[in-house]
């Protein structure tokens, strides 16, 4: 049957009067086919939700692929999958799994302390406040869990302003970085292992000669620095070597922001937002909630404005809801919550900003001539009106990856709207020395080539890999004059290869330090464990340059802060709290100069002029960032937002662009397996080849490339994964570059993606109400509409009596209006529950092990979806669990508190439960996925969760180990468990508080209050599974004048 017939198929073949009139529409707009059908079939029905491109269009290729019953055989196993690396990841999977189930136990030993430390109670975990470093040198305040001296888990620090108890993916995954077996373990000099002393001698000798010349030949290249201690050391060093220079380089830097504020205010100013107060938020190419040092806090604040049923943030009446406009070239977690979303090319985003500024009457602003975009034209006036109506309670934010001009305009608009001081807070710079990293690196390269550099110290930077090729860093490093090149870092990476010395760095959990948070709050970092491989901290290295070798990191940090804080006790308190109270950056008054605005507008108009060809948009990768996390298996296996691809960084292209390029989305056999078309992207001679991922909501003509892949020198996890896109970056085209050419090479590349790509609307035109949604207006008009979507069977419609649950009755509620799909919950779950990494090959076969997945659906038109919906799906802990009834060995049962439990050691692995789970949340150990061999990884494991063996089923347990711990503590203290005392890893990590957990029998519990809301519904309620996990229907708040199903 041909594809075209296929399109009409639904209408024609399912003989259904309602449908036959839908059929032609199905034929006409393949994209909306079933969606329109759905809308037609049920008046109140929302537009179709769908997840696929080819499936949606029933393209011939797709059908072809699926019909072939053995594409695996047709195409060699795992084409494009490095089978070998997979095996490495699998560890000793080939060893007979039986061993794990062997009944005879090997004799075990107990090794007590010789002298037991005071604070340790054997078997009980300890928590330490510390600082997790983030991109740009910022810090996130975290609490690290330590089990008998082993850091096992990172949680947010509830006291810390940037965290408030939540975390992002990188903080969660950082604990694996500590135990990464591929970390650089030794000091290396010209390929030979050397001692620290040898290094110190070598360095001191060189410094002695430098001292003579006042350090004229000494250069230091570090990442962006906010750490006061580090800055102090630098100052000291520069005092000792007046002619020395300190440069900073960040591949994924806030360069545009720096340049922007310099242009706008004529000085360096730090900007942060108070989204709790903001009623209208405009994100211009800005991933406000997903990226950057403030993202976690911003998410928290913003989400409060979305929970209409809870007491709204101060200054707003209950029941009101903030509104988010997102104008961007590539979708971001932020824009999944947008009430209005506009996909434009980067230059057009600028134009939009300029036009907006003009519409708002910002002095000096002018709408770019000759730019007219229908959708923009429709949105602009409304947006302008909305902003003017919310003077002082709105935010216009420009992203780090946008042009400096955009920042200038944003500043101007905020100033004009009087947002400065209320929702937009200007402060003194947070970076120790704000710079344009490109200029810095360029200067360094120039000096290297000029032979001015004799000694170069590089602190955890990797310019050889991540600098734009035109800078020719590698060649420059080889300049004969530079006789001592030192690299200090966690990995022996590409840059280390060009250095005489490589010093292995200590992980942040291994040493002392400090850094500042998004608001400037000084966050202190304390070690939980001695350096596993004798790594050194940057402070120790710099101490040598300060000419006080042997000084430890603690002396440096404490030495700086104890006096400043006024004594030992204050210092202790600060360390205990994890941060220095009241150390946020002081406010800075600054006025925007109109000239800058006009200039910005001009630049934008020029940029707009040269938009021929495709525009490349570079973005830090949601998993690998700029490459520093490339070797983190948890992050690599994390389904990237939108594409849900793992272990790769495909080029994101919009459907229209895909059609232009004559490529399909490579849905080879309908699901995980994707045989993506390979694109050859060329610009000014430079070129790369990368698989394409067709992504709705992507701006037409824009190819999004993410950094951090194609590493040639890192651990075995990250080596050779994905494509290195830095090759296409230039000074001018640092974040976005126009004038690129792209064509399909005809090759195919297998991408592993964890989520199905299918219509939620079945051919009969009925939408499956996985995500129930409404606009605020609709909801206020008709609060019950979420329930009316599907009728759940009445409780008395059964022969059997309800099972009573006295005592606790655990339940979870997930707020779909707040979930940005940032994945923090997923990594948190992986870390807490010892979930195995299975590798690309197995994910490709549909065997990923994540207990918690985030389903993503698109709403509305295929080429320009009106909304992207995130739905976290853990186990539903159904009271009538279908999985339990079919288990032949009582391996999955219900607890007295109503948890659906999986008892691994009883499981024989029939997989019947997995088949019978309508939510498909059960995961099976097809091989021996858990790594039983790598010692360092064993240290990371949570001792309270069994490591699963081959051949058993596993699934979300609501973090039962935490529940049990809480119950035991409470019963020991003879009290009730308080609300919020038990929080599963996902709920604890979630930056938007989208996941709430608690005792449904407790009338006061937050979860109970949520579940009472009319918005609350259960997924697939109609199956009478009675899920304990319920969802808060998704609300959108479009502007009344643009009212539509968002």
């Amino acid at each position: 049957m041909s594809a075209s017939e296929e399109e009409n198929g639904p209408g024609d073949d399912v003989k259904d009067p309602v449908l036959d009139d839908q059929a032609p529409r199905a034929a006409s707009c393949a994209g909306g086919a079933c969606g329109c059908g759905g809308a037609g079939a049920r008046e109140d029905a929302a537009p179709a939700l769908w997840r696929n491109l080819d499936e949606l269009q029933q393209s011939a290729a797709f059908q072809q692929a699926v019909e072939n019953e053995f594409p695996r055989q047709a195409v060699p196993l795992g084409l494009g999958v490095d089978r070998r690396r997979f095996m490495q990841l699998m560890g000793a999977s080939l060893a007979l799994g039986g061993a794990a189930a062997c009944t005879k136990q090997p004799p075990e030993e107990i090794v007590p302390y010789v002298k037991q430390p005071e604070e340790i109670v054997p078997g009980n975990p300890l928590f330490f406040a510390t600082a997790a470093p983030m991109g740009g040198g910022y810090a996130l305040g975290v609490l690290a869990t330590s089990h008998m001296g082993r850091p096992t888990k990172i949680e947010g620090n509830p006291e810390h302003p940037a965290s408030l108890g939540s975390t992002d993916v990188f903080a969660q995954a950082s604990v694996l970085g500590l135990y990464d077996p591929d970390r650089s373990k030794t000091i290396v000099n010209a390929g030979r292992i050397r001692t620290w002393e040898a290094f110190v001698d070598a360095l001191t000798m060189e410094l002695a000669t430098q001292e003579g010349s006042g350090g004229a030949g000494l250069r230091i290249l570090s990442g962006a620095v906010t750490s006061p201690s580090l800055a102090a050391q630098m100052t000291a060093i520069l005092a000792r070597f007046p002619l020395a220079r300190w440069y900073q380089w960040e591949s994924a830097s806030d360069r545009s922001a720096v340049l922007g504020s310099r242009a706008a205010f004529g000085r360096d100013v730090s900007v942060r937002y108070d989204l709790a107060k903001a009623q209208v938020v405009v994100a211009l190419d800005c991933d406000l909630l997903g990226k950057g040092p403030g993202a976690v806090r911003y998410s928290r604040d913003f989400a409060r404005g979305r929970r209409v049923w809870e007491s709204a943030p101060e200054g707003t009446a209950p029941g009101t809801m903030n509104r988010l406009y997102a104008v961007e070239c590539t979708p971001s977690p932020t824009s999944t919550l947008a009430d209005h979303r506009l996909a434009l090319k980067p230059a057009e985003v600028g134009a939009f900003a300029a036009a907006l500024a003009a519409a708002l009457g910002v002095p000096g602003a002018a709408a770019p001539a000759g730019w007219n975009h229908p959708e923009a034209a429709r949105l602009l006036p409304v947006l302008a009106k909305d902003l003017l109506a919310h003077r002082g309670s709105s935010v216009v934010a420009a992203g780090d990856e946008s042009a400096p001009e955009l920042h200038v305009l944003a500043h101007a608009i905020n100033a004009h709207l009087g947002n400065h001081g209320t929702t937009v807070l200007l402060g003194e710079p947070i970076a120790a020395r704000p710079t344009d990293p490109l200029a810095d690196l360029e200067a360094l390269v120039a000096e290297l080539q000029a032979g001015k550099v004799e000694a170069l110290l590089m602190l955890d930077v990797n310019p050889v890999y991540d600098a734009p090729p035109e800078l020719k860093v590698a060649d420059a490093l080889l300049s004969p004059a530079a006789r001592l090149r030192v690299h200090w870092g966690l990995y022996d990476d590409e840059t280390a290869r060009y250095c005489h010395w490589h010093v292995n760095a200590a992980h942040y959990l291994e040493t002392w330090g400090d850094a500042r948070a998004y608001d400037g709050t000084v966050t202190l970092q304390q070690p939980l464990i001695d350096p596993l491989y004798g790594g050194r901290s940057a402070h120790e290295v710099l101490a040598v340059l300060e000419n006080r070798p042997g000084t430890g990191a603690r002396e440096v940090v404490q030495g700086l802060w104890q006096p400043r804080l006024g004594g030992e006790p204050q210092w202790r308190k600060a360390v205990h709290d994890g941060f220095v109270g009241g150390s946020a950056a002081p406010a800075a008054g600054a006025g925007v100069n109109g000239g800058a605005v006009a200039a910005a507008a001009r630049t934008i108009t020029e940029a707009l002029a040269q938009q021929q060809g495709y525009t490349l948009a570079f973005r830090p990768d949601p998993s690998a960032w700029d490459g520093r996390y490339a070797n983190n298996a948890w992050l690599q296996e994390l389904p990237r937002p939108f594409s849900k691809v793992v272990w790769d960084n495909p080029v994101l292209v919009s459907p229209r662009t895909a059609r232009e390029l004559k490529i399909d989305d490579g849905t080879s056999d309908g699901l995980q397996g994707r045989r993506a078309a390979v694109l050859r992207i060329e610009v000014d001679g430079a070129s790369i080849e990368a698989p394409a991922w067709v992504l709705p909501a992507q701006a037409d003509g824009v190819l999004t490339l993410t950094l951090g892949y194609g590493r040639t020198r890192t651990g075995k996890v990250g080596k050779g994964v994905g494509v290195d896109v830095n090759k296409l970056r230039t000074r001018a085209g640092f974040w976005s570059r126009a004038g690129a050419a792209a064509r399909a090479t005809g090759d195919r590349y297998e991408l592993a993606s964890t989520q199905g790509h299918f219509l939620v609307t079945d051919p009969a035109g009925v939408e499956r109400p996985m995500v129930r949604r409404a606009t605020l207006a609709e909801y206020q008009r008709q609060p019950e509409l979420m329930h009316e979507a599907v009728e759940a069977p009445a409780h008395d419609m059964t022969l059997y009596p309800d099972w009573p649950y006295e005592g606790h009755k655990w339940g979870m509620a997930i707020n779909l209006s707040a979930c940005t799909g940032c994945n923090a919950c997923v990594v948190a779950c992986v870390a807490e529950n010892n979930i195995s990494v299975v590798g690309k090959d197995q994910v490709f076969r549909g065997r990923e092990m994540h207990w918690l997945r985030i389903d993503q659906y698109y709403a509305g038109d295929y080429d320009a979806p009106s909304a992207v919906l995130n739905q976290p799906v853990p186990c539903m802990h159904c009271e009538n669990a279908p999985c339990e009834v079919v288990c032949p060995v009582e391996a999955t049962t219900h607890s007295f508190e109503g948890l659906n439990e999986m008892t691994y050691n009883r499981c024989v692995g029939t997989r019947y439960c997995g088949n019978n789970c309508p939510y498909k949340v059960r995961r099976f150990n097809f091989y021996k996925f858990a790594d039983w061999t790598t010692e360092s990884l064993k240290l990371q494991r949570n001792p309270n969760v069994s490591v699963r063996f081959r051949g058993v089923m596993e699934k979300c347990s609501y973090c039962v180990q935490r529940i049990n711990a809480a119950r035991i503590n409470s019963e020991r203290e003879d009290r009730k468990i308080t609300d919020g005392e038990v929080r599963p890893a996902c709920a604890q990590a979630c930056p938007t508080e989208a996941i709430v957990f608690g005792d449904i029998n407790d009338a006061e519990a937050r979860v109970t209050a949520w579940k009472k809301q009319p918005l609350s519904y259960g997924m697939l309620e109609d199956l009478n599974t009675r899920p304990r996990t319920t969802y808060m229907g998704r609300l959108a708040n479009p502007h009344p004048e643009l009212e539509e199903k968002a």
Partner: protein, 216 residues
Amino acid sequence: MAQIFHPSTNTISRVSIFGLIFFIAFAGWVAMAIDRSPAVTRERQVIEQPVPFSHDHHVGEEGFDCRYCHTSVEKSAFAGIPPTATCMGCHSVLFADSPILEPVRASFRDGTPLHWRRVYDLPDFVYFNHSIHVAKGIGCTTCHGDIGRMPLTWKASSLKMEWCVGCHRDPAKYVRPREEVFNPNWDPALISAARRAELMKEYKIVSRTSCSVCHR
């Protein structure tokens, strides 16, 4: 046609056919008996230790409280094995030069911990918590047997699941007043069933047989 079989085969064949059933039953019974026997459970078997520590002496004769060494038994899942320092607390003076205690002194001297061998070794997928059992009035001797009279330590119970569940199903049989938990000479007969029922209420003890109580 000549006879193929000897007359005796009649009896043999009949016995073998009808005896088969009983044989299978017997074999099953034997298998189960073995599985429950000390040969498998390692019950009541003294395990060689680096130092022949005698609970009989320390608890029975000297009357040490369990918590003197097992410090975390009320606070943690793990009862705690004393650091060498605890031993040396007394043995730097008492038996200071006894050759038996040399390993202890050595450990203290050069800071190398003692390597005790586990007597009560649960499988890795079983999570037992001392503190809650103690808090609910389940005494040491209930599981550790007559520890106070063991010159060398052995396992006093099978640690088979049926054994655990036995108590979890009906804790009333074993509960005792909290103040008696660490009494090595406690005898359940000391209090009446009625008293135990009261304790059950007082300590809010309920039978817990859900899987996740022990398996996670």
